[in-house]
Amino acid sequence: MNRNVDDLFPYPREWMDDECSDMVRLVRQWSDREIVSRRMEYRENYETLFDVKRRKLDIDIGLQKLLLPSDAGGLGWCDPGRAPGMLALASEIGRADASAGVLFASMCSTLALFSMEHNYRAALCDSISEMFSGDELKTAAVILPGAGHSGTCSPLFKGRSILAVLRGDMEPFTVSGEGLRPLFAGGMADLFCIVCAAKDGKPCIAIVPGNAGGVRRDSALLTTGLNACSNADIHLCGVEVSRENIIERDGAVEELYTWLNLLLGGVSTGAAINFFELLSDWSDSRVIKGRTTLKENPLCASVLADVAEEIALARLLLHDLSHIIAGPGGLAGSSAVRTFTFAEMIGSRAQQGVVRAMNRGLELMGSAGYAREWHVEKNWRDVKTIQSVLCGVGAEVPVKMDTARFFYNCTEV
């Protein structure tokens, strides 16, 4: 495609400072040079090239230490004001490979819980900086509340069952839980960010190194998409954690959901933009009924319009969300619940939109839509995986309940 996707799908660049813009440009170059222009080579050698490309992104460019403080050797993106830039980065990475994108989103969502100005935890930041600022690739996996099991009564986070339990009144605390399913990358994680229930059932977050004693992983799951992010169920048997690794402040779990909705939205939108580029090439070059270019047929044009519309709207909504997060008090204080609610609504809507865009676009591509060779099917599988995982349980119902609670003061849903 010979048109600039930024011109086609604009977003408010003025919400990013020069440093953000430069970083986004750098990651766009990585995306174009390393993956987008070498799709076939990348696909055919995916298992080996994924880590090679990710290393260039995370180690050479330095995204792995993006959210670490400058004085700890990081790039110092420790202010929610960077949210528009983080979103743009997630989108650029997602355009290249959604698997790399979700690893970026998981890492940033985890680190953002204790490295930002409003929630800075020096000891935790120092210990994590040691892990993430070296030359080795590191992966963070997030474990959120989700489906509970019939016959057992679980502590809840807004209706979702919390299956990990934090125990102890003093150090060492322990975290336990059976069959915990990370969103992504449980099989390869160096660090787990786990929503747990504290003694009183109150949700909190434990940051648990992947090599801690008592952490056991099942074999890798076979999943619809995101095949480079090997996922596996996790079992925690009295895993010891220090107080510094426990985040108990009010709103921390909501903040985790907020970042995940923003950044995974960015990843999916990026994948959808790549889908658009491939579909656009297809519609330019294919002829139907022996004479008409696909895009010049009114029915096909209306489907193509649907695709572009969904992607454009999802992108704009997500940038609006990033602006809300970046605003004063967006993640702290009385606005935090509102930000969480908007993150849930926009995140859910954006994911639905890009999945619909891809479902519609595939209709026009016929067999090329599901052939691995054309790559659009990978974008489709990856984005559907992100969407379903982000639902947690019960489709859009938990998000609807969160929304109803905020707007109508529902107390029993």
Partner: protein, 424 residues
């Protein structure tokens, strides 16, 4: 509801044979396919698991004989008044287990349908090809080599284009047809078929149905080259690839029926193919119900089983409701097919039948895509997990929506019929 068989269907349409046949097929699939199907994706290239499963289903049970006349060793089902409805039942049951396996099995019938069903029967060819399928315990596949690199869905749009865009040529040389061309994507290509039905043109560029030829080509003839199987998003039991025909010679009587009648007999395949597609979809949806029922009964939101939460119940209620409606529609589509030779029916090649059946297929495809997508979201973290089976169906049923011209051609055929469109 007790089980999946309680989903609605017009009982007065159902063959007396249905219950017994269905029980045998389901038992076989539950025993031999269900336990293995989660491993099929990784077997897409070699069919080490899938191949023996086909041998048991097609050769062992004998399904591949079904259409051939009894006098040639077959079951004579092509002559049954219940042909479409029995096909629906078969496709639904196999689709419940694995739609990829379903399409590979039933597309074997596709080229044979052109010569075995009234009013287009060619007994000489039936006798010629019957031993290939009836005298073995091994699976034998056939394919319709239809789609061409430049043509996309044009071949399924025969009503409008009349074969004008076909570039595979058939030239009569003495008592032999000489065939040249390149086809791609047929189900059961990629090296598995023993017999191809090949739509050709005897006059390139002509849109006259008299210049359309449907010719049978055994896969082992000199000049037939098959490429390897493509890697796809799903449907690993169905291999697809390229086929090249280079000066391939077959006896002149390997042409199905002759000028004019070839196009008519071939065009019938649209309707039977769409009915089969609908049945795959409702079969997969019935399995969706089985797996979803287990999940929403054993997993909770707000510490109550998911199915007991009003908002979740609305979502899963819609899914089950759609399955119920789609199954009724599917049986109606099959019944339209089985009325074809009756005084109160219409020929399969009529705009009426094509338009109505394509319309039902389009509707059921949309509902299936929606239901599977929503069901994956109900499972949430577990939605993309292959152990819950729904994600595999989700990948496979999207392919069903896209094949045979996809959604847009269905919409056009429906519009042509219902609004008498003349230029679409």
């Amino acid at each position: 509801m007790k089980n999946i068989d309680a989903f609605s269907r017009p009982e007065e349409y159902i063959s007396p044979f249905d219950r017994h046949f269905r029980r045998i097929i389901r038992k076989h699939l539950d025993e031999w396919v269900m336990p293995e199907r989660r491993r099929y994706d990784e077997d897409w290239k070699d069919h080490r698991l899938i191949g023996p499963a086909f041998d048991r289903l097609m050769g062992g049970l004998g399904l591949q004989k079904a259409l051939f006349p009894q006098e040639y060793g077959g079951w004579g089902m092509a002559r049954s008044d219940y042909l479409f409805r029995l096909a629906y039942m078969l496709c639904e049951e196999v689709g419940r287990a694995d739609t990829g396996m379903g399409v590979a099995l039933t597309v074997t019938f596709w080229p044979l349908f052109v010569i075995l069903t009234e009013p287009y029967v060619n007994m000489r060819l039936a006798k010629e090809f019957a031993p290939m399928f009836c005298n073995t315990q091994k699976a034998v596949f056939a394919a319709n080599a239809m789609t061409e690199p430049q043509g996309g869905a044009d071949i399924e749009n025969l009503g409008l284009l009349g074969g004008r865009t076909i570039r595979t040529t058939a030239r009569l040389d003495g008592d032999q047809w000489v065939i040249n061309g390149h086809k791609l994507w047929p189900t059961n290509s990629g090296g598995v078929s023993k017999l191809f039905g090949v739509p050709c043109t005897t006059k390139p560029g002509s849109g006259d149905p008299m210049d359309f030829a449907f010719i049978y080509v055994p896969a082992d003839l000199p000049g037939v080259t098959q490429g390897g199987a493509y890697e796809k998003a799903g449907m690993s039991a169905d291999k697809n690839g390229d086929i090249w025909f280079e000066d391939v010679r077959v006896p002149s009587w390997y042409r199905a029926h002759g000028p004019g009648r070839d196009a008519e007999a071939f065009y019938q395949l649209i309707s039977i193919g769409q009915v089969g597609s609908i049945a795959f979809l409702t079969g997969a949806m019935m399995n969706l119900y089985e797996r979803l029922l287990e999940f929403v009964s054993t997993r909770t939101y707000n510490n109550r089983p998911l199915k007991e939460n009003d908002a979740v119940a609305a979502v899963i209620g819609r899914i089950a409701g759609d399955i119920d409606i789609c199954r009724i529609l599917g049986h109606e589509a099959a019944m339209i097919g089985d009325r074809r030779n009756k005084p109160y029916g219409k020929p399969l090649i009529s705009e009426d039948v094509v338009g109505r059946i394509r319309n039902i297929k389009d509707f059921v495809s949309d509902r299936a895509v929606d239901a599977f997508g929503k069901a994956m979201d109900v499972l949430g973290h577990h939605g993309p997990d292959r152990n819950w089976d729904i994600e595999k169906h989700w990948r496979d049923i999207k392919i069903i929506q896209l094949w045979m011209g996809g959604k847009q051609l269905c919409q056009m055929e429906a519009a042509r019929y219902f609004f008498n469109c003349e230029t679409l």
